[in-house]
Amino acid sequence: MSVSDAMGWLDEKAAGQPAVEESVFDDAALVELLRSGDPNAPARFFDAYGRYVERLLVRVLGQDPDIEDLLHDVFAEALGNIDKLRDPARLKGWLTRMTVFIARGMIRRRRRQGWLSFVPDENLPDRPSPSTPPEASDLLKRVFSVLNRLRPNHRVAFSLRYIEGMTLPEAADASGVSLATFKRWLKASDQAFVNGARRTDQALYEELLETPRWGRVP
């Protein structure tokens, strides 16, 4: 049984990502292997979920040079706390919450430090990848520039729901809050994003209103 099947959480809703990407390990067996201290277990754990965790981090933080460190931190945290996981079948959900928690922590730190960037600007990648067209990388920069102005909880809600494409219950679970709270966050994030775009990036706001490929024109 695949991990996704075991979680009852298929990823077909997540926009754009490959359909097959998770490990074929059974979560319970994987947790047992991790707890046994098998030296190969961390690599298997990473093979099972490395891509997924990296994708979540990128969804929430954008193309960030600290993704590699954060990816390592999520797995280090998970490996150090695997004994605390009560239901092995919930491994993916547990890991998802941990990832969201760590990403949100990074956003909060950045907001607190604001003017003091840990990363010199020249280290920021110009494009997500060499094959990314300039229009696409421009769109990414503009979207994340607006997202940077949102409150951390709202930004996470926006990223999980709209970029990762989670359903509302999935996103609420990943955020570690009730469905009602998540809905409130999401509503606030909608408004904050639209208003932020209107104030700071009129061109993006125009795109948002009128680009046909993004759905029905309001």
């Binding site: 990473f46 460190d69 769109l139 494409g165 309001p218």
Partner: protein, 464 residues
């Protein structure tokens, strides 16, 4: 809107997935985890504190030097509208009632007195001064001179820059009429069609822009259909959403506005013909227009207010605009009141109102932008309206018309905030319209200005 946010999010995800295909980052982390497992339980990577501490040290040193050397706190000036608390709110509309003036006092010692019915916004606050945008009516401005003073008043397309002076400025958007009388010191005036001028104590200036081309509010219509259709067609060049003004049973008196020719589209918009007059110095300003020597204290003004009668209530549309409730304005008010708002609100409010109309699918959006172009010709807002009309036309498939609007924006604001987007959209619009010659011209110009811009790939393709 959430549907469109989903669309945007899905596009972002697709772009990100392109980068996620590269497994080098994962491979590096995997190696690290395996290595950690072989040595000891993995630990969280230490944050990069080295550069941070170096930066922090440098910034603390700079801050200390700044505090030591700077003689006063570098905080922007604040202002206080009479009867209200001190504020640093930007772009908040301040309107004087019809029967009395209203004072705004600034913490740098400067003061503005809005004449009855005048409307203004404080659009910028800096350490050295402020920028006031006079949207309608008359204001007497007294700027206290300091070592570094940067004060300016924007009235329509005119900008009055001052360092320390007293003057009266007036702007009537209905007539596009600008008035300036300098009582003390000197000011620099920048306006359309003319080089910057220096006016000194006693100088006056009056200027009216293109009176013949001014629109007027939609006239009362007995038989609305033909007249309205004709008028709207002149406003929006092709398939933009159309709007027919409300039908009225009887003509509506509009005493506040002079009669003017029917609304007409300037496409491409003409440069405003200007009638300028720089009068020689008058010895003294007219007594009734003369401002007090010193700004009237707010407390005194407030106490005198108490003696006056209660001001007539603000129109509902004005209240909603001040509160930023554009949606409510469009949905809750009757067509007459919306019409009044469209013809009396300031340019920024109208741009916001147009955006809200588009969000609601309200066909008045294009009409609102056209009014902005007519009422506030030669301003940033008018140029923005051209771009927004271009976007609307583009998405309705009227590519040739949209190209005209984009071209208009590029011509009016070659370095404006939409300049790059408009130049790119121009390529796209001509290309979509099948006008390959113009598309190539636009592509060449785009690539010469924005070789790495978001439309560079399209422009290169057009040129192939």
């Amino acid at each position: 809107m959430s549907e469109r946010l989903e669309g945007l999010g899905a596009e972002v995800a697709r772009i990100q997935d392109d980068a996620l295909a590269d497994g080098r980052r994962r491979a590096a982390v995997r190696r690290q985890l395996v290595s950690d497992a072989a040595d000891a339980p993995p630990e969280l990577r230490p944050a990069r504190w080295g550069p941070a501490l170096a930066w922090a040290g440098a910034m603390v040193a700079i801050a200390l030097a700044f505090v030591a050397l700077w003689p006063r706190a570098a905080v922007p000036v604040a202002y206080r509208v009479e009867g209200e608390a001190e504020s640093r709110l930007i772009d908040r509309s301040v309107t004087a009632t019809v029967d009395r003036p209203m004072s705004i006092a600034f913490t740098d010692g400067s003061a503005v007195r809005l004449g009855p019915s005048a409307r203004a916004r404080v659009s910028q606050l800096t350490v050295d001064g402020a920028t006031l945008r006079l949207e309608h009516g008359e204001a007497t401005v007294s700027v206290r001179h300091r070592t570094a003073t940067r004060w300016s008043v924007e009235a329509g397309p005119f900008v009055v820059r001052v360092t320390g002076t007293r003057f009266r400025v007036g702007w009537r958007p209905e007539q596009e009429s600008f008035d300036l009388a300098v009582f003390e010191g000197e000011v620099r005036v920048d306006g359309p069609d003319a080089p910057e001028r220096v006016l000194r104590s006693g100088d006056e200036m009056h200027r009216t822009l293109a009176p013949a081309t001014l629109p007027k509010p939609p006239p009362p219509i007995e038989d609305p259909a033909p007249a309205a259709r004709e008028r709207i067609q002149t406003v929006t060049p092709s398939r933009a959403p159309t709007y027919e003004p409300p039908v009225r049973a009887s003509p509506r008196p509009s005493p506040s506005r002079p009669s003017a020719p029917p609304l007409e589209l300037r496409l491409p918009p003409k440069e405003p013909s200007a009638e300028a007059e720089l009068k020689p110095a008058q010895n003294e300003p007219a007594p009734e227009a003369s401002p007090p020597e010193e700004p009237e204290p707010i407390a005194e003004a407030a106490s005198s207010d108490a003696a006056t009668e209660a001001a007539p209530p603000q129109p509902a549309w004005q209240t909603l605009l001040v509160e930023g409730k554009h949606r409510e304005l469009l949905t809750a008010l009757g067509p007459d009141q919306v019409e009044q708002a469209i013809w009396q609100a300031g340019p920024n409010d109208l741009i916001d109102l147009g955006a809200e109309a588009r969000q609601l699918g309200d066909p008045r959006a294009g009409y609102i932008y056209s009014v902005v172009r007519s009422r506030f010709a030669a301003t940033d807002a008018a140029a923005d309206a051209a771009f927004l009309l271009g976007r609307m036309q583009f998405h309705s498939g009227a590519y040739q018309a949209s190209a005209t609007w984009f071209q208009t924006y590029v011509r009016e604001r070659p370095r404006g905030r939409f300049a790059r987007e408009a130049a790119g959209r121009l390529v796209e619009a001509y290309h979509q319209a099948g006008d390959q010659d113009r598309a190539r011209d636009a592509a060449r110009q785009y690539l010469s200005r924005y070789p790495n811009g978001p439309h560079a790939t399209l422009a290169a393709t057009v040129l192939e």
